[in-house]
Symmetry: C3
Subunit: 109 residues, 3 copies
Amino acid sequence: MTLPSGKAKMLKIYVGETEKFGNKSLYHAILLKLKENGLAGVTVSRGVESYGAANRIRTTRILDLSADLPMIIEAVDTSETIDRVLPFISEMVKKGLIITFDVDVIKQG
Amino acid sequence: MTLPSGKAKMLKIYVGETEKFGNKSLYHAILLKLKENGLAGVTVSRGVESYGAANRIRTTRILDLSADLPMIIEAVDTSETIDRVLPFISEMVKKGLIITFDVDVIKQG
Amino acid sequence: MTLPSGKAKMLKIYVGETEKFGNKSLYHAILLKLKENGLAGVTVSRGVESYGAANRIRTTRILDLSADLPMIIEAVDTSETIDRVLPFISEMVKKGLIITFDVDVIKQG
């Protein structure tokens, strides 16, 4: 699970906090799926406001406990490994955004 | 508001939580402005500590309820759309950082 | 401490919240070190879930107050300045991930 220094790819996924995959939260299901596929690391963050495909603004600004906040998933790995997981991640994410971009790994340990 | 797969651009903006634009929070005014201009999606996150142009460290580490925490705004769209909004976003952001970088859209839906 | 518009580099670092550097939090020690070295700005965010080198899943999902949450540090500066700080940042980060990638600075002020 150690990533060599040099050229690599960032996989970044934006989904709603309340989206489900089976009986799990989609963002957590994605983390588990990436782990199962040997990705070197995954980090999940929660945003405070967003709008997207569904075109509604989701926010914590008003006291709406049912707000569907944005979850941001980041994973860095080799280009080959990221390309290998994209088909089933695309399949899991019905509503949301999946992007990749080139990065340089300086250190992973 | 659907974004095709392929080459695209990330617009990322860092501003202080307490910055205002008219009587609105600047970060929320930026989200509304990007939405009004048809951007496919925008996500706002709140950081916990930062320093920047003003050179002060802002933090949640001490119990300072008036801390001006960093807000991070991310939007992905075509290069043309991002370039079109940059002039007025630059005008709105007096203190802060605006960057762009190339990304590949794998899926947006 | 002002950054000119144009080509620049993002330095992004992922470490655990409980990691220490001397008697400080590692993420805060990194922010201070980058500030001391004149970086134009640094933003720190806290994630909600991750796994990495240590291969454990860290999460806020269960009520585990001792959870070692992921901290994400972002700094944008010229390529030269980022390259100059990488050696000692690599030395500070024993467990974690350090990446860089190219960005365009539209405005910093």
